[in-house]
Structure formats: C-alpha cells, structure tokens
Amino acid sequence: MSKYTLSVNGENLEVDVVPDMPLLWVLRDKLKLTGTKFGCGIAQCGSCTVHIDGVAVRSCVLPVSAVSGPVTTIEGLAPGDDLHPLQSAWIEHDVPQCGYCQAGQIMSAAALLSNNSQPSDDDIDQALAGNYCRCGTYVRIRKAVHTAASFYNADKRNG
C-alpha cells in the first residue's frame, strides 16, 4: 500500500492503495465518486472516461501511481451547482436510455469541445469513437453535442 495525493474535482485527496489500482476503482470504491462507471476494464467501452489535465482518459486502465495531473470526473465537470452545456444539452435532447454510459460520453464530448468548439459530425464520431452506448442513443448524442457547442459559443461571446 502507498499513499497518493490526488487532485479530484479541485480538491486534494489522499488515498492509501496499491500502486496498480486503476484510478477508476480509487474513484468509485475509495472516494465514493460512483458517477464514473465500470464497463470492461480494458479501455474498450469508455464508460470510465475522466479528464486528466483536461484530456479524456480511460480510468479503468490507468494505475493510480501513473496519474500525472488534476482529475475531473462527471461530478466535477461543472463547478458548484452549475451544469456544463453538455449536461443541459443531454437533458434537452432527452438523450439517455439506461444512462449507464452517459457520463463517459459526456466526458469525451467535453474534452472535444474544449479543443474544438464547432465540431462536425466526423469530429464528434472521432472524439466519441471510444464510447459504447449499448442502448443506441448515438443519434441524440450527436445532436446534443452540436447543441452544447452552440451554448458553448454563445457563452464565450457573452464573455
């Protein structure tokens, strides 16, 4: 067991775990942040997507000892009681069915929007290629990302 100090959603938190424990299980079992989901354990389905330094990563294959920057999870995507534009777009388009994959979808899409505020369908397909939706909500996911991009840009214009 080793002690690690992680920055998660803006808070510095200390955990005492084995070095090879994937970040996913540190978040879920040790820090009780269960919004990040377990789907496959081999970085195929994207349910476990979080941001490290703003980059989307699969937390199920990232050992805690290799976490190199501040971690953002779905719970911390928007500060305080605010919603991220993607979260409001997800609600507006009634995207979820079972909902299990959606945190990962939103985290991948958020990383896209932070680099590309006017993504094409192809851009969205590429950025979300690592995220399965077994219920098949892809049609609405695409629409919601476009809507969120328009929120995002309006927000930027309004300073």
């Binding site: 084995v18 377990f38 605010d82 534009p85 979260q87 979820p96 909902g99």
Partner: protein, 746 residues
Amino acid sequence: MNSKKISRRNLFKVSAIAGGGLMLKLSLPANALEDGATTLVKSSELNFYVQIASDGQITIYAPNPEMGQGIKTTLPMIIAEEMGANWDDVEVVLAPIDPAKFGLQGSGGSMSVTRNFDAMRRMGASAREMLIGAASQLMEVERRDLKAESSQVIHGSGRSMTFGQLASVAAQQPVPVPEQLSFKDPRSYSIIGTSVGSVDNLVIATGLSKFGIDVDVPGMKFASYTRCPRPGGKAISFNRAEIKALPGVVDAFILQPDVRSGKASMAFLEGLAELQGGVAIVGDDTWSVFAAKAKLKVNWDESAASTDQWSKMVTDARAIAAKGGGEVKLVGASVPEALSDSNNRTIEGFYEFPYVAHVCMEPMNCTVDFRKGTAGKPASMEIWLGSQFPNQVKEIAENMLGVKQENVKVHGLRMGGGFGRRAVHDFAAEAMAISHKSGLPVKLTWTRTDDIHNDYFRVGGFENMKGAVNPDGKLAAWDQHYIGFADSGKPVIGSGLRGNELPMVAFDNASVRQSMMPVATACGAWRAPGSNTNAFVEQSFIHELANLAERDHVEFLTELMGSRRWIDEGNISALNTGRAIDVIKLAAEKAGWGRKMPEGTGLGLAFYFCHAAHVAEVAEVSVDADKNYRVKRVTVAVDVGPIINMSGAINQVQGSIVDGLSTMALQEITMQNGRIEQDNFHQYPVMRIASTPEIDVHFIQSDNKPTGLGEPALPPLAPAVTNAIFAATGERIRSMPLSNAGFKLV
C-alpha cells in the same frame, strides 16, 4: 456536489433556461434520489401511487423497474394525465418493491404499458375524483360543475382551488368505485402523446444516478466470483493460501453448486437460477478481488461440464436440414406438389443465426446483507440489485438459505441495461451465498468476462427454407424447417416458432416443421426473443421469393397479407393484416420506395409483427467493392396504438435500430468444448457512433390500445438491411453476423 435537488421543477427550470443557451443554475438544496420524496410540508396520500403536498408538489410512484425503456416516466404520465395534473408539478419516485400495493413490478416482454395503461388511468381518475370531491365540499358547489386541470379544480364560475389546497381534504374522501370511474377524452390530453424528458435525465447527466453497482452499505465488503470456464463444472480446490495473502483480500472460499436456489428453466423465464459452483473472493475493494481473481488457480471437476461446440452444431444442423423431417407444426394442402411443379419457379436457402450475448453496459452485480437468526429473531436478508423482476429474488433466498420471504427486503435500482438478462438472478444467488458464508454484507461485481461467459444467451439456430412461385408471380408454396435448441426436451426461450408468425397464420400453402438439438449453454430472453431471428429468416426469404417472381417487394408482401383482417379478433397477440399493410405502405412511401438508386446502393424492406406491434422498416444501404457497407438511413413505420411519451417512443425505436444493426453486423458467441470463446469487447464488439444511420420514425396512432415499444422495432432491422444489400449488390446474405461473410459495417 451532493446538494443538487433532484426534481421535476429543476428539470423544468433547466429546460426553460437551456433554450436561452446559458450556463444553468440549480436552485434547491436537499437530495431526493430513490429514497422517496423528501419534503418538509405535509403530504397527503390519495392512493398508493399519488401523494400531494400542501405546497402543490405531486409525488407519483413509478411501479415498474427502469432499464432504459423509459417506463419510470411513461406510467406516471398516464396517472398525471387522468388527474388533471400539470406535469411540471410532478415528482416521480421509483416505488418500493411491494407487490401488494404495486402489483407485478416487472419489466419484460414489452408489456408494461399494455398491462398497466388501464390501471394507471384508474389511479389518476380516482385521485382526480377525490380532489373534485374535496373541492365540492370546500367550495360548497356541485361536483358536476367542477373540472380538474393544470393541478387545480376549477368551478364553472371561474373560482378555483389548487391541488395543494385540496390535498388533505381530498385524502379523506371516499375512494371511488373503480367501475364508476370515467376517463378523459383522448382529444383533451395535454400530457399523453407529448414529448416528456426522462425523469432521471438530470441525475444521469450529472453522475448522481444510483445503479446497482453504485450501492454502498455500511461495513460492506466487495466480492468476485469465478465459475468453471466450462459451464456445469465445479471447484475441487484452489490456491487459497496464496489468494488470501494478496493485498486487500479478506477471505476466499469455494461454493458448491446449489440446485435449491431454483433451477432456471430455459424454456420459460421464472427468475430463478441454479447457483453455479465456483470460487468466491471477498476483499476491501473491487480492484483487490478482481486482481486476486486473475491469480486464481482452480482444480475443476469438469465431469458434468458442457461439451457444446458451435462448429459441430452448424454441421449437425446442416445434416438435419438435408435429411428433412422434424416435428410438424403446420401442413399446407399441396406443398410438395407445388415445389415439384415444373411450371413453378422454386428456391431454397439455409439460414443461420448465432448465439449472442446481452452485454448490458452495467455488468451484473448484487449487494446482499445476510443477517443470521438469533434467539427469537429469524434470519433476514437485505438485497440491492438492478432486476427486471426484483421481487423474485426473495424466492431464491428462501429456497437456498431458508430465509423466509417476509424477512427479505429487496431494493430495486435503476438498471444499466436489461434486454432480458436481468430477468434471471443467478448473480443474486451468488451474492446471497457469499454474504451467507462470509457473514458480511458484500457487493458482488462481475468482470466483463464473467458477464459474457455467464450470460443466458440469445439462442442461435438455423432454418432451411424452400418456396415456389407460380407463373402468375404469386406464392405457390412455403416450406420452413426450423432447427433450434432444446433443454430437457423443451425448446429454450426464443427457439422455434410460436405459431403466430406471418407465414403460419396468413399464407395459403405453407408447411412448417421444427427439429431441436440439445444444448447445455444457458439460454434466455434477449430483446424480442424468437422474433429477432425469425424476422431475419422469414422477411429475407419473402424478398427472395419476390425477386424470384420478378415482383416489387412491397406489392408482393402486401399481397401475401391478403384481405384486411384481424386474424383473431380482439387478441393483441394476433396479426392484423390491415395494420400490417398500413405500416408497410407508410414506410415505403416515406423512404421514397421505387426511386432510382445510384450504383452500389439499395433499399430493403422488412415487416414484423410481435409484442402486439406492427412495424415496417426500409433501410437505405451503400456497399463498395470491398464489401464495406454503410446504412445511410432507416425509415420506420410503427403501429403500437396511441403513443404515451413521443420522445421516449422515438428513443426506443432509434435504440432498437442501433441495437439490431450492432448485433447483425458484429456479434457472435461461439462455444469450444463448452467454453465461451469471447472474453471481452475486443472479441465481442458493440457498434460505435460513426456507423449510426439517420433514423426516420413515423407512428400510425391507431385507436387500438397502446402497447409496448421496448422490443418490436428491432426484429425487422436485420432483414431490411440484408434485403437492401441484395438490392445494391445482388448478393444474398443468409447468415449473421455479416462480418463472417466479409461485409464490414462502416
């Protein structure tokens, strides 16, 4: 971050603001997830489903388990409509598991709307009459001059009282006699038929939604379970000392198979499941028990293990098809004659469909707290799980561990997918046995490999088809030989023909036979059991016959329906040829059927009737020289009667199309000496977003009773796509998944 108040009111605010494109603010404190409405104001219960607080907030209990089919939103909408409630005043809470109050709390067979529509209307109408009774009393006016709408009771004079003001007096009113209740004229509906967002969207989008896998119980430990790679094997011994010494491991032990938990009948779903032998590891966190599981060395007794071999099943089925015979289900008047008549044109085709897995995004899991009995206090158990039929796990607890059902408390949580998998509770039996043996509250989580290997699979199968068309281009004979699988002599769920399929009820000269081969691999219900494979075979072969006759597919298919009639008047499980013809024509029209298609592209049509639903689909597909194919658009026409939630209904259809495409394109489970050969998504992929077609959905809102939509839009998709590939290339595909024939979905 935990202070987000979860309520419809917030959702309304969110939606209202979202239109303005601003960052959004949530206002209210407190949290109300699944534990019931937390409100400080006085609340009055009008019936089991409806509570109204003095501040006007209406709480409606959603009785049925939610797995993504939207039922948690749909059923309360029906109640709110009949009450005259304003939907924005409604907070929906998942009902506790209590069949005495809420009936069969199950989700399966696309039956929730069908079974509950009238009951929900009665609950709403009953609450409305009590509110009107209260208003009549308080306003001292005649009941007949009062009406309920927008969460108020309004008098003809214009005076009104809000539901909140009326709630406590309404709760004292006599409960109306169900037979005397009247229902709203559908033309005056203000909620039913509109698009309502799923009530859990906010908690899902913010990561606060609680699935079974997210359960946290005080003192809880974590568990993994490892079964024999060959189903039916049991553990003799394992490297226990080594495993127990690993970091984070608390205990490790063998569980023997236990038939007392209840043998799962693969012929009929009853929720029970035999406990399979294996090795349990209990530890401090999920990772520790997963990591230890990977280091297990188990000595298995495989004397009774499965020897299933998919390659042998294929060979055997071909031999059976060549030999003919089988159990006769239907005999046409002159099938052999028509097939051998030299004036007719004939065609024969052998179709194959594989076993497939459910792969719910949330792997199976269950949390159990078993408490030993003490003097004067019986043993008890508390269970948390996502299940399509949560109440049924009580029976396993009683059968296997002797805990009386009245001492078992079950918490049903939102499911990260069901598709039929969470109708069988083998994983719950394991969690119960682990908690019982370890004496600890434990959460058992399956790895993805456990989830695939231990599935109750969609059964594979084969059909040998022969048909003839006469010189007039009409169907002369249909000969169908289904070769499927049986357990203890009974066809497993989804194998064989039910008897209400199109050829069996509507064709003039059809013979249908069925042969069954034994199977040890567990089979279960998989979204539209039976239909999801029969549709592929029948609707492809009808297209083959239409081409043989050089007829237009739409014309040929509608002609086969014959006159417009309900095959068994009043029976929702019976085909209505008029409704069938209408959806076929609508889908064709909306897809631009008959237009000239560019080289390498084609339109394909399919129709299927199941789950009381008539659905037709037209796929538009392009195929390149390297067999890369893209499904550009799917046009869907559906008649399930009136739609309750338009947004939810379209979502179900879109999801069914994607699911159907993912399965037909990519997915196959194979067995090698009993062992399932696919371990994870790298060998069992799910379709990714880039392959998603445009999906154009049209409803015929007939005045039939509303019926369910979780399943019936899936079956026609596969034949629509393969028929379109034929139209584009001239190549007939008779085997799924298409990847085996070198076709690559792009």
